[in-house]
Symmetry: C2
Subunit: 311 residues, 2 copies
């Protein structure tokens, strides 16, 4: 059993490669700190990106949303004077509506996600990190912002001073997450944003504890390539929070929780500094443009972890 | 000010003709007994049919829903294993989502409807009969059914023994409805189903009282032509409830509330029997196939009502 920790687009891409290797023997523990309620619907951006990507149905251009989506709903929302800052495609909407309906009837987010992934033919287990609400909030000089306000409405165009994961202290992992972590042969930190995709997962005390205590190899794939994030605000956040924008910063952040880092060949000069933190390093091409890239990077990451297994 | 009472498709068609004559001086009091909650959304079929028709955006084939609609949402709902017995178009969905959001924030159904109709360029006032919930329930030999279960899910394919309008006794009319009735120069019963479109409106005690007491002319356009309903289960219900399927039955049903009936030329033989009930009769072509038909029938109905005005 491979266990992966993932947020949105970048994490989903590696998860897709891992799914090709592991089939049903993959559990992806997904960040739910981005989840929010909009139009009375529960929106879970990272769960959906992972689900759509594993189902082979993600929009290949954006990385999120469904391929071949239509936008009649949003056009009419706009015509009727509704809020149109958060784009909801016509087909994508079905997942939010059904999830909200099923949650309203008492199903857990884990059960709802299992039902949706099964319907979409996803073999891997897509596991919300918790069934309890955890909400990422962004601290700025002018106050606290809900994550989607920051991320989508403001397009990250404000400087952050910190992050909060409201509810994380009280939120336990689900049984499914506990079992996945107990059964794991290796744990892989996908190349997701360390601050807003992986940190919320690590903020769940019991997940953090199990990751720290496990004897199986733990490997992180860096989301930073040559001082830049492939997608999203990871690099911008890193700089604003006073860190060097570098895979070394990622390694330092995960220190004590991982045994090895996969970094891009362009960052080969960091190898020594990262090894000095007490972890192994593998350099390879980490940019995932297509499914083949994902498959190759996943295979190399799994092989790297296997080699570390004997520690 | 013309006040019309209307349900769905047939009523909406006449209302569109009345709107051409009256412009902003038309208030359409609309049945909300068909309203229901589905996927956590408030669906108001008759309000929406009237709104879309007055906006010139109704699907000309079905009479309900939006012209040029797309169906991505429903296709995905089905793929995910959701309920697909009630069709919700992608653009149509926007009205339900916004209405539910605005109602959830404390707006009244009247306010929400005003906002939506304004956005769609509707000049007439589209008035829910009440802001309080009234729910039509269908009595059958095998028990009580919610209206949409009967109407859409079972396609009316069950014999009815009676109808109930739960909540009607407690539901008052809105202020907007009261003002419209107070200011009316004439009141027109659109050719909607008397049992499930007009009766729920009449079940609101104060509306019934004002209709009965008014001194302005009140005219009904029969939805029955040659012993058949143009659309929907009106004729079937009439037969199952033990009535003759005829415009005479409609006239008897509205007796005491109307001063005149508009019936189709094919039902000219009923004229004497309807006059014997103490009301005037106008015969004309009442089938509305296109906007021209609606405009002509509306003009003739208004003229007929004006002539009765001197009683």
């Amino acid at each position: 059993m491979i266990v992966a920790l993932a947020g949105g687009v970048g994490g989903a891409k590696l998860a897709r490669g891992l799914a090709e290797i592991a089939g049903t023997d993959l559990s992806v523990i997904v960040n739910t700190g981005d989840d929010f309620d909009h139009f009375g619907l529960r929106i879970c951006p990272d769960l959906d990106t992972v689900t759509y990507t594993l189902a082979g149905k993600a929009n290949p251009v954006t990385g999120w949303g469904l391929d071949g989506e239509t936008w009649s709903f949003m056009a009419q929302i706009k015509a009727l004077g509704g809020e149109d800052w958060f784009q909801l495609g016509d087909r994508d909407l079905a997942i939010h509506v059904l999830r909200s309906q099923w949650l309203g009837r008492g199903a857990s987010l884990t059960d709802v996600t299992a039902k949706i992934t099964a319907a979409l033919g996803v073999k891997a287990a897509v596991l919300p990190m918790s069934d309890a609400p955890v909400r990422t909030r962004v601290q700025t000089a002018s106050g606290l912002l809900d994550f989607q306000d920051y991320f989508v409405r403001l397009k990250c165009d404000v400087s952050i001073t910190g992050l909060r994961f409201d509810g994380a202290a009280e939120a336990g992992p689900t049984e499914a997450v506990e079992h996945a972590l107990d059964d794991a042969e290796m744990m892989i930190f996908c190349p997701s944003n360390p601050f807003v995709s992986i940190d919320p997962i690590l903020a769940i005390t019991d997940i953090h504890r199990r990751l720290k205590a496990t004897r199986v190899p733990r490997v992180a794939v860096s989301p930073i390539i040559g001082g830049k994030a492939v997608k999203g605000p990871a690099a911008k956040m890193m700089a604003e929070l006073g860190y060097q924008v570098s895979s070394l910063t990622v390694a330092e952040k995960y220190r004590g929780l991982i045994d090895g880092m996969v970094i891009d060949v362009v960052d080969g000069d960091l190898e020594g500094d990262i090894r000095a933190l007490g972890m192994a390093v593998k350099t390879t091409r980490t940019l995932m443009v297509n499914a083949e890239d994902s498959a190759r990077l996943a295979a190399e990451t799994v092989e790297f972890a296997r080699k570390l297994g004997g520690r």
